[in-house]
């Protein structure tokens, strides 16, 4: 009996590495600390009522933000571990298999559990406010999306201490990820973690598409909509078409592993390249899914801080929508070297170069918006200015990679690594940081400290170039990705070692930049400049017309809009002495909180965990729980209520310090 338990424990828990034991201890201590704090301050009820069961898009956005920053930390630590291992030849810091697990989780976490939720955070925090709406189209579904994402992310992260991490690369290519070559449960964690959070992402895509199409304030025609909302529309369109492909691809991989199907195996007719083909049909649109909202953020920021309407609004809209469709026609450039026919490679090389054109249009539009504008350089603008050169270089190396014959040279080298980090950090991360600094006062009611922000900006930027510029050269020198170490001959004679060392230094500078940001946030919570006006940047769009933080119903009166930059026009009218017509408050229709999304996601977590270990006694009750939750929702008819006028009056009076 005791022997059995010991046997089980030694395979169930990850053992044998001091790093892991350290993680075990810190996870345990953190959990105990959280439980203690919640109990000591009697916050359980508050947590349940105000956060876990909430359907308020602003609170959901804040939860997304916190989760994504935690994931940024985890993914960042992975990156630093890798860079430490590669700093010098023949390093013994990480074992080969551990290194494999680290680069796998780094990629997966950064894209799916950091970039996606940070993006959804901004969707949730901003879009309804920009559109003059009281909430998203489906608040219940919105809450479900968040909890599914969180449970998926937790399941994925659990693999670090239980069962073993996935180690077949961030896209888990077969045949390596098949049962024959990855017999552990790591790949199952990968599949179910992404699968569960993927359902949530898909639901968010539907939710925001309908919100934007149908919930705009009266008078806000599509072509009068703020550009960030347009970018969310473009991104949502890609989500709803791309994520089903991912769901199917991972489900098929799981069938291969779980019931012995032969989709992607090497024997009995399976074809691993079919997986590569399918996963990139999702994977390519995915990179545009995360970068397009960043473009939307830059458009808002550039316009606000140049005090001008955006240059070329129509071409901005057109290029974003064009990118969202064309992004579905470029996927094969990720596997030019597969050996497909020349016609295939030519088609996808050209389509890849074509998609660079609308992106270039946008860059020029931002530059022309700044031209002769009255520019003030605050943090959001700083990140935007840092983005432009970085993204232009990243885009140019992308066009180099698009040249199919040349790609045979660059494929899977550090040149590629440098390229996609340049567009993902320079584009996505800088973009979301710009958005975070820009909308932070709206969400929390105070600004983030400028001085510390400038420090972190410069550290990020300098660290980035120091880290990734040498990697372009390393790629040309023959260093391939996923290499866990290199000998002293290549290291010193071929000159890999100095460049790797520089690169590692850059990575740690970025790590330092992140710490400065954490310090900046905690400093600003205490001493940050409070935003009492609701309009700290002299903004142009509707979210700045309401107090910060916004009341739970957002707008006491739904605004009527006449053109783009609606709030700017209202302010101009006020200056010219045109007073707004008196408004009459009406009761507001609001959705009720619900525990079902949380319960259902926990059931998914249980089911997922059961499937990971092949424990049907656990998986089936989990799925039954999911079904019961859905039916319980279907039978719930008491889902909304009205906020009465006197409550609105009281809330507005408290927020604005006067009666409306």
């Amino acid at each position: 009996m005791w022997e059995n338990i010991k046997d089980f424990a030694s395979t169930f828990f990850v053992t044998g590495d001091p790093l892991i034991y350290g993680a075990d201890v810190s996870i345990g201590l953190t959990s105990i600390a959280i439980l203690f704090v919640l109990t000591y301050f009697k916050k359980w009820k508050w947590l349940w009522r105000e956060w876990i069961t909430t359907v308020d898009h602003k609170k959901i956005g804040i939860m997304y933000l916190i989760a994504s920053l935690l994931m940024l930390f985890r993914g960042g630590v992975d990156a630093l571990l890798m860079r430490t291992q590669l700093a010098l030849p023949n390093m013994k810091f990480l074992q080969a298999d551990h290194y494999n697990a680290v680069f796998t989780t780094h990629g997966t976490i950064m894209i799916l559990f950091m970039a996606m939720p940070l993006m959804f955070a901004l969707f949730n925090l901003v879009v309804p406010l920009q559109l003059g709406a009281r909430d998203v189209a489906f608040p219940f579904l919105n809450s479900m999306s968040f909890w599914l994402f969180l449970m998926g992310a937790m399941l994925f992260n659990l693999s670090f201490v239980i069962g073993g991490s996935p180690d077949a690369g961030w896209l888990s290519y077969p045949p390596l990820s098949e049962l024959a070559y990855s017999p552990g449960v790591g790949e199952n964690f990968y599949i179910w973690g992404i699968q569960i959070s993927g359902i949530g992402s898909l639901a968010t895509g539907i939710n925001f598409l309908v919100t934007i199409l149908k919930m705009r304030a009266p008078g806000m025609k599509m072509m009068k909509m703020p550009l960030f909302s347009w970018s969310v529309l473009s991104s949502s369109v890609m989500i709803i078409f791309a994520f089903p492909i991912l769901t199917v691809t991972l489900a098929l991989l799981f069938l291969d592993r779980f019931v012995g199907a032969h989709f992607f195996t090497m024997d009995l007719g399976g074809n691993p390249m079919m997986y590569v083909n399918l996963i990139w049909m999702w994977g390519h649109p995915e990179v545009y899914i995360v970068v397009i909202p960043a473009f939307g953020i830059f458009s808002e920021v550039v316009s606000t801080f140049s005090k001008k309407s955006i240059f070329g609004y129509k071409s901005m809209v057109f290029s974003m929508m064009l990118i969202s469709v064309v992004s579905f026609f470029t996927w094969a450039h990720h596997f030019f070297t597969m050996g497909s026919s020349a016609n295939v490679n030519v088609f996808f090389a050209i389509s890849t170069m074509v998609i660079g054109i609308p992106t270039g249009v946008k860059i020029f539009n931002w530059l022309f918006t700044m031209f002769r504008g009255r520019i003030t350089i605050k943090q959001p603008m700083l990140w935007t200015l840092g983005f432009i050169p970085c993204f232009v270089v990243g885009g140019a190396t992308g066009v180099m990679l698009a040249v199919a014959p040349a790609d045979y040279q660059y494929h899977n080298s550090y040149f590629l690594i440098a390229h996609f980090h340049q567009v993902l950090i320079g584009g996505v991360v800088f973009g979301y940081f710009a958005g975070m600094y820009y909308w932070w006062p709206k969400v929390f009611g105070f600004k983030l400290d400028e001085k510390l922000g400038k420090w972190s900006f410069w550290l990020w930027n300098i660290g980035f170039y120091v880290c990734f510029m040498p990697q372009y050269a390393l790629g040309f020198m023959g260093m391939t990705r996923r290499l866990y170490t290199y000998g002293s001959d290549t290291g010193w004679d071929l000159g890999w070692a100095p460049l790797n060392m520089i690169s590692t230094v850059g990575a740690f500078v970025m790590g330092l930049a992140f710490i400065v940001q954490v310090w900046q946030i905690s400093y600003s919570i205490r001493k940050g400049e409070r935003d009492l006006t609701g309009d700290p940047w002299n903004g142009r769009t509707l979210e700045w017309s309401i107090p910060s933080p916004a009341p739970f119903y957002n707008f006491a009166v739904v605004p009527e809009v006449e053109g783009t930059d609606a709030w700017w026009k209202t302010k101009e009218d006020l200056k010219n002495g045109i007073k707004p017509a008196p408004v009459k408050l009406e009761p507001i229709h609001m959705p009720k909180n619900s525990a079902i999304p949380f319960i259902m996601s926990v059931c998914w977590f249980i089911a997922g965990f059961g499937f990971v270990f092949g424990w049907m006694w656990m998986a089936i009750p989990g799925l039954v729980g999911v079904a019961i939750s859905l039916l319980a929702r279907s039978f719930t008819y008491d889902t909304d209520y009205y906020v009465q006028v006197d409550e609105i009056e009281r809330t507005e009076a408290a927020l604005r310090g006067r009666t409306v």
């Binding site: 705009r216 492909i245 074809n271 079919m274 049909m281 026609f329 094969a332």
Partner: protein, 112 residues
């Protein structure tokens, strides 16, 4: 949620109704006929391979249209017709996924 278009569409819906018995019956008859034709063609080997494939796909697409127009009432509803637009883009992507996969994966038969 523009109120004007919404008000307009409600009257529209009332005048058009939600399909009549006649339209459902017509749709049903069409779908039966469109199922029998390919069945007869295949079971009796009436056409050569390419012709059969083309006819079969044509019949299936017509079935899709029958279901869309007679059963799902795609013509009804509010303007602008976001449902039709998303459907068209969705079908374009499906076509790309299926056609693209077949095209790209045909390397299997040429390389080996």
């Amino acid at each position: 949620m523009s109120q004007h278009t919404h008000g307009h569409s409600t009257t529209d819906e009332v005048s058009q109704g939600h399909g009549s018995l006649k339209s459902y019956l017509l749709g049903f008859i069409f779908s039966i006929v469109l199922t029998i034709i390919p069945l007869v063609i295949v079971m009796n080997d009436m056409l050569n391979k390419t012709q059969t494939v083309v006819t079969l796909m044509l019949m299936a697409v017509m079935q899709l249209l029958v279901q869309l127009f007679f059963f799902m009432h795609i013509r009804e509803g509010e303007k602008p017709r976001w449902n039709v637009m998303t459907l068209i883009v969705g079908l374009l992507i499906v076509f790309t996924v299926v056609g693209g996969s077949i095209w790209i994966m045909s390397f299997n038969s040429t390389v080996q």
